[in-house]
Structures are given as structure tokens and as C-alpha cells.
């Protein structure tokens, strides 16, 4: 299983409390110039299909429950990337009355990408780093299959009269 994880990480994006600067740059990552798809990254809308959660912006009192909800819906193993300085600490808006702080107050974060907004190259780098973490997490949670009993299933031998037409057909070919 761990052999295949990381070949095509699916990404779900959630805009928490962002000013859109990071969001449009993250969407630009997926488009032909930066082309995150060359790393197998696919942008999906459903958290249940995703491996990596990308969050932009800080959390406030209303959206922290939504963020927790989206995070819980992603099946394990999963990785979280905090895009931009707002997702890390609250950034420019840290002093605002409705800002609780960085997203690490609500969910565990694996990769922080600094910048306001980060360049698309930095964002791609963050996603590639998250893929490495995802691979590592998969290895830790993997079920060891070698110790399980190996069952080999053989086909039953067919009676001679039913087996005969099949061989005749093959010889025709």
C-alpha cells in the first residue's frame, strides 16, 4: 500500500478566513503554467476523497467547527498544509477581534508555507513535502500482511465431457 501512496495525492482546499490572495495563488498552482498535476495532484471538492487538506487563512469562532468537520471527514492517513502566514499565526489579522489564531489551534498541521501570499512555487514545494509526510504516515499505519496465512485457491478439475468443447474451440482459433 505504501508503495502507491504519494503517487497521486488528492487535495481538498478549504478557505478559512483568507483574503483570497492565497486562494487564487493556490488555484493558479493547479493550472497549466505551474501544473501541480505533474506530481499527480488532483483538486477534489469532497473531503472524503482527499489525502491532503490545504487550508488558507486563520480561524474565527464560526468557521473553526467547519474546519474541524472537514478535517474529520478525510480518511486517515492524511496531511495538512497551512498556506500563508495567516494560517500559521493569524498574520496581518492576528489583532482582529474575531480572529482566534492559526489553524493549529483547531487541527494538527504538518507543513507551514510562509508568505503573504506565498509564490506558487513555494506552494508546490509545500505540497511535495506533505506528500513525503503522507508516505511516512502510511508506513506507520500499514497493516503487516506477511504474517497472515496465505491461501491459494486452485480451480476445480472439470469433468472430461465439459472440458472437451472448450479445448476444441481453442484449437479452432
Amino acid at each position: 500500500m505504501s508503495k502507491f501512496t504519494g503517487k497521486s495525492p488528492w487535495v481538498v482546499h478549504f478557505n478559512c478566513n483568507s483574503c483570497n490572495g492565497c486562494d487564487i495563488e493556490f488555484l493558479a498552482c493547479l493550472t497549466p503554467l505551474y501544473d501541480a498535476e505533474r506530481f499527480g495532484v488532483l483538486h477534489v471538492g469532497n473531503p472524503k476523497h482527499a489525502d491532503i487538506l490545504v487550508v488558507t487563512g486563520s480561524v474565527n469562532k464560526k468557521n473553526m467547527h467547519v474546519l474541524k468537520n472537514v478535517y474529520d471527514q478525510i480518511p486517515a492517513p492524511k496531511a495538512v498544509v497551512a498556506m500563508g502566514v495567516c494560517a500559521a499565526t493569524g498574520g496581518l489579522f492576528a489583532d482582529c477581534y474575531n480572529v482566534v489564531g492559526g489553524i493549529d489551534k483547531v487541527i494538527p498541521v504538518d507543513v507551514h508555507v510562509p508568505g503573504c501570499p506565498p509564490k506558487p512555487e513555494a506552494m508546490l514545494d509545500g505540497i511535495v513535502k506533505a506528500v513525503e509526510i503522507l508516505k511516512k504516515k502510511t508506513k506507520e499505519t500499514e497493516t503487516v500482511t506477511e504474517e497472515l496465512p496465505v491461501v491459494i485457491v486452485k480451480p476445480k478439475e472439470l469433468p472430461a465431457e465439459t472440458a472437451a468443447p472448450a479445448t476444441a474451440k481453442e484449437s479452432e482459433k
Binding site: 482546499h13 478549504f14 478557505n15 478559512c16 478566513n17 483568507s18 483574503c19 483570497n20 490572495g21 492565497c22 486562494d23 487564487i24 495563488e25 488555484l27 493558479a28 493550472t31 497549466p32 503554467l33 477534489v44 471538492g45 469532497n46 473531503p47 487563512g57 486563520s58 474565527n60 464560526k62 468557521n63 467547519v66 472537514v70 496581518l92 489579522f93 489583532d95 482582529c96 477581534y97 474575531n98 480572529v99 503573504c116 501570499p117 509564490k119
Partner: protein, 357 residues
């Protein structure tokens, strides 16, 4: 028997967390109720706690899509309170960067609209074209999204001869590439099936509900605040883009025509750059109040600023275009089918981050 379907805050079509509670009967939307507060930060309050010069940078972060226009409008307000006349070159440069932002915002909106009705390759093509204007902004100011080029009294950065040639080359590329994409958006049979006759907003309702920007202009209202001639718009030659079809197709058409209009405006502004300083020096703090307006990609933004003679503002109030467009949008959603909700919402091109601040 009606039921409530929540649309958002996390939805594949929406890049931003807006929730619409849609009351539906079978497949038809009977009423829509917006639920906001997911992006509210309290930026207006923070602007009153910081220095009025620092606010230029803070207010740029109201929205990442039309960031330069927010900061220039704010600066215009402070200049009006303090009676500062900005240099001619700064006026033309403000026009150039504002129009660059309009191109990038309209291309972004059209791409997302294409994604909303499932035309993913068109979305990618439009966003590839959009990268040219992002390059032009990065080459002239150093920032792709946050330009930080405006300041009270003028502009902070200049466009020299080499940068001007670079911008003009990129504009020619956009014009050539976007003509093909516009052809698909306007003439493709399947695209028209999703946009023609969807989300109709007649001129009377648009006026009564206070629609602004492309939403109003697509309903036949000739409303463009650039016609009042702030910055250097009075010296440039242009006409507001008006369409009379009143539906999502007309709004798409308005945006497409405005992209070409903005390309033309940047060319005019860059060819007429006067040779003056970039910034007027000034002393003191703002004392008094001013209400200023400017035309953003989504419509007209209004700033109300009040200074009390200290370096901190007494009040900073923003009325964003999306806020004005929410009431017309709810009118369009009444009676539409559930499958068209995404197209209608994105044809209005809401910016929730602006609206909630």
C-alpha cells in the same frame, strides 16, 4: 413539501465559504437565505487602531483579487480629506495597475464560471492566459497579487521604458489568446445551453435592488463609476460596456468585452505617461471626513473615512460591490433549478472576503 439544502460553506463550485440555505420543492429553488460570518475578521476595527499610513497596506488585504483598487480608493479618500493633489504620472499609473487588476479578476471569474458548468479545459485555458497579466504585475511592482504600489500622495513604484515594453508584449499575447477563448464562451452550443436565459434580472429589478458593476450593466443599466473621471479616466477614451439580455450569458459577455476594454485603457495610459514625480509630500494628520467611490471589477466600492486630527482614523467604513449584489443574486435564485445555482452565483462573481472583511 419543501426542504432545505445547504449550499456551502465548503462546496466544489465555491472558492470561498459562503453558505446559501436553499429551500427547494422538487428541483426548484423557492427561496435562498445567505448565511455569512465564515470570513469575518474585523478589519474595519483594526484599521482604527493602526496608523493611517499603515492602513494602506492593511486595507489592501481586504481582498486579494482587487487589492490595488482597495488601497488606491482608500488613499484617494485620505487625499480628499487632506487636500493633497497627486502628480499626473501617479494618476496614469494608478489607472494602469487598476486595469491590470480588472483583467486578472475578470479572467479569474470567467475561468471559475467555466469550471462551474464543468468545462474544465476551458477553465485551464483561461487561467493560462491570466498568467500573462500576473507576470506583467510582478514585473512592474514585484508582487503577483499584493502590489503594495499605492501610498497616500501618489504611488510608490514606477513603470520604466523596459517594463512598459514588457507589459505591452504581454497585453498583445492576452488579446490574441483570449479572442479564441471568448469565442468558445460566447458561441459554443453547450456553453450557451448553460448560460442563456439563466438567472434573469430585468433592468427594473436590478435598479430597485441596487445592482452594481457587470451585474447592473448586463441588465441594461449604464452605470460605470469610471465615467465620473477619477484618477486619469477623464483623459482616456472609453465607453461603458452595456448589454441588454439580463441573463448569465449577458454578464459573461460584459466581462469579456471589459477585458478588451481594459487592454485598450492600459495601452492608452502607458502611451500618455507624463514625466512628473511619483508622489506629493505632505505633513500632518487627516482631520475631517470624506466618502469616495471607485469602480472595481465587481462594481462600485464606497469608502467612508473620518479623521480626528490624530494619526489614527476615527472611522473607516467600506461598502463593497458584492454586498450590493447579494440582493439581486437572491432574486435570480428564486425559481431557478438546483443545478443552475452554481452558474448563477458565479455569474454574479461574489467576493465574500470583501463583503465580510
Amino acid at each position: 413539501m419543501s426542504m432545505i439544502v445547504p449550499f456551502g460553506p465548503q462546496h466544489p463550485v465555491l472558492p470561498e465559504p459562503l453558505q446559501l440555505r436553499l429551500e427547494i420543492v422538487d428541483e426548484t429553488v423557492v427561496s435562498a437565505l445567505p448565511v455569512i460570518g465564515y470570513v469575518h475578521r474585523g478589519l474595519e476595527r483594526l484599521a482604527e487602531q493602526k496608523d493611517f499610513q499603515q492602513d494602506t497596506y492593511l486595507i489592501e488585504h481586504i481582498c486579494g483579487i482587487c487589492s490595488f483598487m482597495h488601497s488606491t480608493t482608500y488613499c484617494t479618500g485620505i487625499e480628499e480629506i487632506m487636500n493633497i493633489e497627486i502628480p499626473e504620472r501617479a494618476k496614469y499609473l494608478r489607472v494602469a495597475w487598476s486595469e491590470m487588476h480588472r483583467i486578472h479578476s475578470h479572467l479569474l471569474a470567467l475561468g471559475l464560471l467555466a469550471d462551474a458548468f464543468g468545462f474544465e479545459s476551458l477553465f485551464y485555458q483561461i487561467w493560462r492566459t491570466r498568467e500573462h497579466i500576473m507576470d506583467a504585475m510582478e514585473y512592474t511592482t514585484g508582487g503577483r497579487v499584493m502590489l503594495s504600489a499605492a501610498c497616500v500622495g501618489g504611488v510608490r513604484k514606477d513603470i520604466n521604458e523596459e517594463q512598459k515594453q514588457f507589459v505591452l508584449e504581454k497585453l498583445a499575447l492576452i488579446e490574441a489568446e483570449f479572442k479564441e477563448e471568448a469565442h468558445v464562451l460566447l458561441d459554443d452550443y453547450t456553453v450557451k445551453a448553460r448560460t442563456v436565459g439563466v438567472g434573469v434580472l430585468d433592468a427594473k429589478t436590478a435598479y430597485e435592488r441596487g445592482a452594481v458593476g457587470p451585474t447592473a450593466r448586463a441588465s441594461g443599466l449604464k452605470m460605470d463609476h469610471r465615467m465620473t473621471g477619477y484618477f486619469a479616466y477623464d483623459k482616456l477614451d472609453f465607453e461603458p460596456v452595456v448589454e441588454n439580455d439580463c441573463d448569465a450569458y449577458a454578464r459573461t459577455k460584459v466581462r469579456i468585452r471589459e477585458v478588451f476594454q481594459s487592454i485598450d485603457l492600459i495601452r492608452q495610459a502607458l502611451s500618455a505617461l507624463p514625466d512628473t514625480p511619483l508622489k506629493t509630500a505632505f505633513k500632518g494628520n487627516p482631520n475631517g471626513e470624506a466618502a469616495v467611490r471607485a469602480e472595481q471589477p465587481r462594481g462600485e466600492v464606497i469608502y467612508y473615512l473620518k479623521g480626528n486630527g490624530t494619526d489614527k482614523l476615527a472611522r473607516c467604513r467600506v461598502r463593497t460591490p458584492t454586498f450590493a449584489n447579494v440582493a439581486p443574486m437572491l432574486h435570480m435564485l428564486n425559481g431557478c433549478s438546483l443545478a443552475n445555482v452554481g452558474v448563477i452565483v458565479l455569474s454574479v462573481d461574489p467576493c465574500i472576503s470583501c463583503t465580510e472583511r
